[in-house]
Symmetry: C2
Subunit: 301 residues, 2 copies
């Protein structure tokens, strides 16, 4: 099954208690793509400015990543984000955001990508997500993310987008804000009433919860003490999830549960180094080894 992602490709500056990284590769679609590519080929749709370094494009170049939808727009500047993580790594402050090319016309989905089977709409204005979703009418599994800004300011547009997707992967605080339910499982059920068939609610260092009509699965985060930079954990979680689903060609509850494990494990690698360094160095053996370790930890008796 073909997997398509649309989202941001940007230049990040990140400060954490473990150090800092200046002007490094970042963006939701980047983390998603590198994580998903561990399982299946990925089609990337995004737009950058003409200041986007060739080395960053090289970092995304692989026989499993199709960059035909990565537009380099002349006269525009690449999206930039600067953030700082506090001591507990579960909280962050955005110090600066330069939308740049993100505030201009959205990227175009190349015609050969329009037959994609699995689609991830990373966080952006819900009307843009809906426009993208309509360009892949035959997709069998469309999943979106969102954020507090759209939940607060564009609720009607977001509800229209939610009615047009099959699943959501969002943070716990977003699920609570979206549904008005303080319990994440109840919030997940509230999301299902808006259209999606499944909701995955990410709780950062506290794991994630999958809510479907067939059941609820809660899992912890992979126990890790080597956190250097949590940036991209959520997007690579989504990438691991959809990459696995596209590869196994099944979207039933059992497949979603297995995908949840892969998502958790991929995200646990992402946060071990700044930017995409650890994801780029990740081997299939390391990934499979940690999936086996995590599955064994959860299997009690």
């Amino acid at each position: 099954m073909s997997l398509l992602v649309t989202g941001t490709v940007g230049i990040d500056t990140v400060i954490t208690p473990q150090g800092r990284a200046d002007d490094v590769l970042g963006g939701s679609a980047v983390y998603f793509t590198l994580a998903a590519a561990a399982f299946t080929p990925v089609r990337l749709v995004a737009v950058v400015g003409d200041d986007f370094p060739d080395t960053f494009r090289s970092a995304l170049t692989s026989d499993r990543i199709d960059l035909a939808g990565l537009e380099r727009r002349a006269g525009s500047k690449t999206f930039r984000w600067t953030g700082k993580y506090l001591e507990n790594m579960n909280e962050r402050q955005t110090l600066r955001t330069d939308l740049n090319v993100i505030a201009e016309a959205p990227p175009v989905i190349p015609d050969p990508f329009k037959d994609s089977t699995v689609v991830f709409l990373a966080n952006t204005h819900p009307a843009l997500q809906l426009g993208m979703r309509r360009q892949v009418p035959d997709a069998r599994l469309v999943v979106c993310d969102t954020m507090d800004l759209w939940i607060n300011a564009e609720r009607d547009a977001l509800r229209e987008t939610l009615a047009a997707v099959d699943g959501v992967v969002i943070n716990d605080s977003e699920a609570v804000l979206l549904t008005g339910q303080s319990d994440v499982i109840t919030a997940g059920r509230g999301v299902l009433k808006m259209g999606p068939k499944f909701a995955v609610i990410k709780k950062g260092a506290h794991g994630a919860v999958l809510v479907t009509a067939d059941g609820v699965t809660a899992i912890p985060a992979f126990p890790s003490e080597a956190v250097k930079d949590p940036t991209g954990a959520g997007d690579s979680f989504a990438g691991g999830m959809l990459g696995y689903l596209a590869a196994c060609e099944s979207f039933d509850y059992a497949a979603l549960r297995r995908a949840l494990v892969r998502a958790t494990v991929v995200a646990s690698f992402t946060i071990e180094d700044f930017s995409v360094r650890r994801l780029q160095a990740l081997t299939r053996d390391e990934l499979d080894g940690r999936v086996a370790e995590f599955t064994k930890m959860l299997t009690i008796d």
Copy 2:
């Protein structure tokens, strides 16, 4: 194996978003005892005042609970606590505490109890915990709880107690405060350096983490939407854990992992109603059924 618990037996008033309960049975030793008694006989050591209602003593009366160590002290008043939970149920405010008999001489461990094999020292002044621990010199597994008050005000005494126990069961915020480590697993390892062979760190609605020299196990809370009153969740968690360990007569890593599941499940029942109502009504079939359900949820693939 015989199991002994020392802690508070009190009268609680609890307000939650789901309602309130006035002057109901509470206290750490009460929740621990009722939870542990689901697995094994329990010896209770605590002191109450002469205002302690007969109906509360009746609520603890069972052929699995030995009340020979429950002293009713003439002229004294029973410990009282009034608390309120905020909307998300993971935060609470203490509105009032009347130590009463807790501020007087501690209870005495009856001679027939001094051969106990497994001992839980619920939260109290660490010097009192150490005194109790020394009265059961042959115990094979001694586990304690503590709280921020003692970590801040009685650190030396607490370190002495920690050096004399085999395990701790504490909250995440307490583990962080005790060790200065913001990551709970690193904090758990910090606790091991103080003496105990295992640390269980409770994260409320986010589950728990077991840290030992043999490995780390993180598990989520049982997915529950029926939370009425979180009071006693942590103490019944400890009761489920030690009750199971005493019943299975093993304290190795595999047994601790199985105990973690039982602890989580018992606590998930506790919070479904005010005071000890749900624990009192709990049947062995319900308990075993939810243990099986939780184990199945965690077994992926």
